[in-house]
């Protein structure tokens, strides 16, 4: 039994890497994840990853922000302390719009931003779970869980055939841990 935990196919070209994904999928080898230095368009469809739902989150947070400040302004200017400004109406909706808009944007942005950080487990101080240090630089890395995916040599050959410049058999999942 080998001690390999993960097999990494390192590509220097995104098109080759996409080709590699095709090959692996054709051979029914499940892909654990793919790490790239830049976003690769079309990869989600290939890996069967669902669309992000962050847009809905942004919309809901935006509605919440707008409603919150509108209710607050209503409370301040209409209910709690109505001011007589030349006999003009207290409930002057057009005047409420700028602040309502700003808070809609504020809540939508931060609500969505923090949802993104929460869902993706990003926060200051989180130990980075890096499988290969060059994946943020110039390597497009396909990671394959070695457990159950044998024989390893076949996977290595497949990746090499697809154009991988290097295939790594890592004993540790994350190389970033000290």
């Amino acid at each position: 039994m080998s001690s390999t935990k993960f097999i990494l196919g390192l590509f220097d070209d995104p098109d080759d890497m996409m080709h590699g994904i095709d090959k692996l999928q054709k051979n029914s080898i499940p892909i654990y994840d793919v790490y790239t230095p830049m976003p690769i368009h079309g990869i989600e469809a290939k890996l069967g990853i669902k669309d992000s739902r962050l847009g809905y989150a942004a919309f809901m947070f935006g509605c919440l922000g707008g409603t919150t400040i509108f209710i607050l302004i209503y409370y301040f200017l209409v209910h709690d302390w109505p001011m007589n400004i030349g006999g003009k109406p207290h409930f002057a909706v057009p005047d409420f719009i700028p602040a309502t808009f700003e808070w809609s944007v504020l809540f939508a942005s931060f609500g969505m931003g923090f949802t993104f950080f929460y869902a993706t487990h990003l926060f200051p101080g989180r130990a980075p779970r890096v499988m290969d240090f060059r994946a943020t630089n110039d390597r497009f890395v396909i990671a394959i869980d070695a457990k159950g995916n044998i024989p390893h040599d076949d996977i290595t050959n497949l990746l090499k055939e697809a154009g991988a410049v290097e295939v790594k058999h890592n004993d540790r999942k994350y190389v970033s841990y000290e």
Binding site: D12, P14, D15, M18, D33, V34, Y35, T36, P37, M38, P39, I40, G42, I43, E44, L47, I49, S52, L54, G55, A58, L72, I73, F76, L77, D80, W81, D95, P98, A99, F101, E102, W103, V105, L106, A108, S109, F110, M112, G113, F116, F117, A119, T120, H121, L122, F123, P124, R126, A127, P128, R129, V130, M131, F133, A135, T136, N137, D138, S176
Partner: protein
Amino acid sequence: MASHKESIIREPLVTGKDITYAKVTEDVLFPVENKPNKAWWIGFTVASLGACLWVFAVSWTFWYGIGSWGLNKTVGWAWDITGFVWWVGIGHAGTLISAVLLLFRQKWRNSINRSAEAMTIFAVICAATYVVCHMGRPWMALYCLPLPNQYGSLWVNFNSPLIWDVFAISTYFSVSLLFWYTGLLPDIATIRDRGKGWYRRVYSVLSFGWTGSVKTWQRFETVSLILAGISTPLVLSVHSVVSMDFATSLEPGWHTTIFPPYFVAGAIFSGFAMVQTLLLVTRKVLGLENYITMFHIESMNKIILLTGSIVGVAYITEFFIAYYSGGEYEQYTFLNRFIGPYWWAGCMMYGCNVLMTQVMWFKKVRTNIPMSWVLSIIVNIGMWFERFVIIVTSLHRDYLPSSWAMFYPTWVDVSVFIGSIGVFFTLFLLFIRVFLSIAMAEVKLLLKEQSEQAKRKELEEGHLEAEKTAFYKKNLIKFDSVEVSEYENA
């Protein structure tokens, strides 16, 4: 990624030979991973001296009060609000580049967006300091917020554009910060993965543990797009609200319905000029000629020309409406800009913003680096004078001739302004040293299709129409980072 080929007639966005993904990282991170050069140290020393002057002048203001400024009963608002509006305006270009150009799929934004966003953040910081400074008692800033208090509670007045401004600027600053920092995460991760020891640990914390997995990138792109979508109306609202600080008053020269679009155009105009000022120096000092190419410089000059012309139309409209309204106070205010004691400020405003930028119709000017730089400085000066003219020249002669007065700045006024420029440059220089001046991940996206080498390969393969090839080669002549002679046989 089935990379589709871009039409050959489009100019390359990344020039240079043998630009690989690794080379992009090396080039962009060079100033971050190495000791800064002499030019950086000189710049940093001068800028931090300016920042020290700012600290001194602001402390002086807080100690002795607003009386240390040159304000008087007639001109109760002068350099402070001028500086505020100037800085907020400068900030707008960053959001325009990162948000509006993203929505319009302008890929040339990829190599200038991060530093433009940083510029936004620092410009808004400078603007915000003016708001706090002019309160004289800085802790009074809390009273801008609708917080429960012992007076009733007496709430802030949401009918006032000044309160809208508090909300607009604070939202703008925080959303820009989020946009900028989220965009920085993948690039900070690159610095982290190349570093060692404590250096890696610091960037590890800053990188939030970014890995670059498929799901992360997918969400990242969604977040960027939505943030761009909501930042676009936000940035327009911010300067509209700033303009309403003036436009909702009954002051001749301020009480103008054209103010919101006029201010927004002016803001983008001055912001792009500041981006140009900064990036022309940055590209030279950091050797980034292959990433911030002549195409970028020319495109920015075109935007400066366009927005400068919009501002020009707004000026003419103002004059026409002053004449057409038949209001004598309105007419006098606009006439006073030329025949009054501040005629020189009026000349600076109209001359720098409208007349000088019209030379950008000439391609020779747009693609000339020293001239572009000088023009960008001229625009910055002109836009400062625009605000000065709108504010001081309108105020100094009001309805009552007995109260007419002039405004003379004191050394504190001048120092706060010069100092704020120092603060801005200190922050910017630290930024390009600690983080990075170019969004690497986004530039890497361009390599396969929009780079010079990709297009060159296409040329060498043949199969292209001769007319289009000739057009492409003709366009390359203006690039200072391309050896045109190599293309003769290609």
